[in-house]
Symmetry: C2
Subunit: 493 residues, 2 copies
């Protein structure tokens, strides 16, 4: 047989066909390459054009100049329309909606004021506004609110930071949760800026600096979206109670082992635990985490704009962004997926309600028993049950999205809560009868926030008055000082 | 340019290349076609070779001659090794394992004897053996046990069938659950042979004869794997309580509306409901059903043998067949999937245990209240709560696989059960104190099946003795009669 070259010699048209074909193929490959290069160069442009950002730079708008897409989407967390569509107004007054909460938190600052959390954008506004910070609080309360915190921790050291009073740092901590909380300004890699998380893992022998990028996409959230407490009467050292594990029982065992009490309930005199928001812990026990997803996969999915693929920094409910979150994996319609979530939430909420009801009665019945002269010894097993029941209830109630992240685990926890508070009530019924109280006990009218606050003995008028003074006099002073310091530091006149 | 024919004229070798290429391609296509034809013809062979089967033919082995693959896999339901690997011995004595059940069912035949269900293959053996059929039972109890049932229903009419006594039909109903229960022998299409299912849907305006094949792959199971009761004191008409819906609350509302009472509890005197096995109803509320799966998809997945794809009639736990069931959709490892199931089951079981404990105490405390002279009026709200609590507990406990089919719904139901029985106990504590009973009440030792049965007043010796007589004298007679009738009917000598 002849070689191709010889064939071409014989038939010159064959050469032209090969030549033409090559031209077309090369042209198409060139087009593709050009698109790729264009995208690359646009990305490079971004990286090349950045101006260096100082380490511990707290001002989000400064970072925003380098990373406009991330910053613009971050700014959208100011929009709380979605929350208002799904449950009334944004920044909802939870005590007004669920007056039982006032009773459950009697004696604790949460009974004064507890609003639905808003976006990261409002972190500073909301902590200044809440009545909970009128109680003398340590600076530890600032820890999750601002990228000024790691800056101050660099200056003071974490332990010294925690030891300060909350209002000592009022003019230092002014920028809401933002870029520097999660990013290293040099590389833009994800970075842990709060010591408590790293310390908690370290105590378990885990070095989280060795985490993968995908793990970091949850761990930066877990700096704050976790259960925690302030360790030490003076130290107020932010500590995660994970030494015995991540379940509600594990953490209770930890708290019991260190005799931790958040407050003594003013009605039942129970030494209580207040759950914070164990979002990361509950998420870890759910199927999405078990399948390898991170927080960012659903709350900050990737987005494309022009030639750029970037992480959407509009941190929000995936229900407001189903097509970019759920539907990346699930092929069902938006409506089906939404109903699937609601279905889980409703079932968990039903148990949460049963749990709340039982706890309210238990606290009030315990108060009646004390009032009739019950002894410490008689009350002890009852108060233990109330402490355990409310810890379980709060673990679910305080979590953000727990009813979706781990619905079955939430239901399990609430089932246990119900059992424990009702068991306390059984003991109380026996005791109250013995003490000559006619059963069922008349439960006072706590059907509105106002009535409930009066019942537990709060003088709301004077609290509101003091707050008003604080907002009108102290806050403007803080802001002025902060601005002056910033102008001085950065040479702005 | 020249045409190809001219090119070939110029260069004869080109023709050989084309010729050779064609030969190879045709050969390969031929191979593929031959495989396909072979498979088809094998399938046709099966269909052509079948001998007609009489309608209502109850003998599985007769169907098995036409459909050996399905029959052979069906026969594997005799093998209960898997069950024995996952929880002790097959046909486990549940009362021995959970003596609390004896107390919960005091006054009802279940307190005598309740074994873990075995495969369909054992349906006749097990119903003859249980002590529950020594209580005079209607023939309705046979309904789900045998393909002889639709045969008898054709002869007698369903209403007349149900009205008979259980032992009147002992020599008629002898073949265990099998082919004819679900298949039409002419077309082998799936077919509903039990009227209760069709009637229940009909009352809701749904004609299930219009169901799709995929729906039928669940509906044939739903003929039996459902909640049901025997309607009418004389009629004992098998009825599904679905008129108000499929949830535990819907069915309770139905039962309450017709004042249905399964039995009066011999300790607490509660007018009880006994849940059967609401497997289909719980499955419907779970995600696998919501995503369009049928019972058969996981319990009878497709299988290939030689050239034939057929439905595996070895009905079994998908956990024993993960690669052919779960892994058709889920890409995780067998071990991961198995642990995911266990995780759900353990959480539900934990609540089930709390629910059981509370109910045992409630029954015993109610008995104490009666013993001390409590009045009907005092007891009424308590007994209502006990009825509701145990109905919820039993709905989950009696279901097969509910903890996997619908784990969250099971947890929700159990949470409600716990709340209700503990609420009953709170009322009881008040009442008992009033009646002068020292609390906490001493709970009798019911830690073994034997102790529990003695406590509720069962005379097991005489029950076992009567059963032994029945097994040695009545059963052989039934079998002899059945054989004689069959030989006569089918001309076998």
């Amino acid at each position: 047989m002849k070689k191709i070259s010889e064939s071409i010699k014989d038939k010159p048209w064959l050469g032209w066909v090969l030549y033409g074909g090559t031209v077309i193929v090369v042209f198409i490959v060139g087009l593709l390459a050009s698109t790729i290069i264009e995208r690359r160069s646009e990305s490079n442009l971004i990286i090349q054009n950045v101006r260096p950002i100082n380490d511990w730079e707290p001002r989000n708008e400064v970072w925003g100049e380098n990373y406009p897409r991330e910053y613009e989407t971050y700014l959208k967390t100011a929009d709380t329309t979605f929350a208002s569509e799904h449950g009334g107004s944004a920044n909802i007054d939870m005590l007004e909606r669920y007056p039982d909460l006032v009773v459950l938190w009697a004696g604790y600052a949460f009974s004064r004021d507890y609003n639905q959390s808003r976006g990261h954008y409002y972190a500073i506004k909301d902590i200044r506004k809440t009545l909970r910070t009128d109680v003398p609080q340590p600076a530890t309360c600032w820890t999750c609110k601002s990228p000024d915190v790691p800056r101050m921790m660099q200056q003071l050291g974490a332990a010294q930071f925690y030891k300060k009073h909350w209002d000592e740092l009022g003019s230092e901590i002014v920028n809401p949760i933002g870029c520097q909380d999660c990013h290293d300004p040099k590389t833009m890699n994800l970075r842990i800026t709060r010591p408590a998380l790293a310390e908690a893992f370290q105590r378990q022998g885990i070095d989280i600096t060795k985490s993968t990028h995908q793990e970091m996409r949850s761990l930066v959230c877990a700096q704050c979206h976790v259960e925690y407490y302030f360790k030490g009467k003076e130290e107020k050292y932010l500590t995660f109670p994970w030494d015995k594990g991540f379940t509600v029982e594990n953490m209770e065992a930890y708290y019991d082992s260190v005799n931790h009490v958040d407050w003594v309930h003013s009605l039942s005199r129970t030494p209580m635990l207040k759950a914070q928001h164990p979002d990361f812990e509950l998420f870890k026990s759910g199927i999405h985490s078990q399948r390898g997803l991170s927080c960012a996969d659903c709350h900050m999915p990737y987005k494309s704009e022009g030639g750029i693929k970037f992480t959407d920094h509009h941190v929000q409910s995936p229900l407001n962004n189903i097509s970019n979150s759920c539907q990346v994996c699930h092929r069902e319609s938006e409506n089906t997926l939404r109903l699937n979530v609601y279905d889980r939430q409703e079932k968990v909420k039903q148990l949460e309600k049963l749990s709340t009801n039982a706890l309210v009665k238990a606290h009030i019945e315990a108060k009646a028993a004390w009032d009739k002269g019950a002894t410490e010894e008689q009350m002890k097993p009852i108060l233990t049950l109330i402490r355990q029941a409310q810890w379980r209830w709060d673990f679910v109630a305080a979590s953000h999205g727990g009813a979706f992240h781990a619905p079955l685990e939430c239901a399990r926890i609430l089932g246990n809560s119900i059992q424990k508070s009702e068991d306390a009530r059984t003991l109380l019924a026996g005791l109250l009868s013995k003490l000559g109280v006619e059963l069922p006990l008349q439960i006072p009218d706590v059907s509105t926030k106002q009535k409930a606050q009066v019942y537990i003995g709060l003088k709301m008028d004077s609290l509101y008055k003091a707050k008003s003074v604080f907002i009108n006099e102290v806050i403007p002073k803080w802001d002025k000082e902060a601005l002056e310091r910033q102008n001085k530091n950065y040479g702005i006149k």
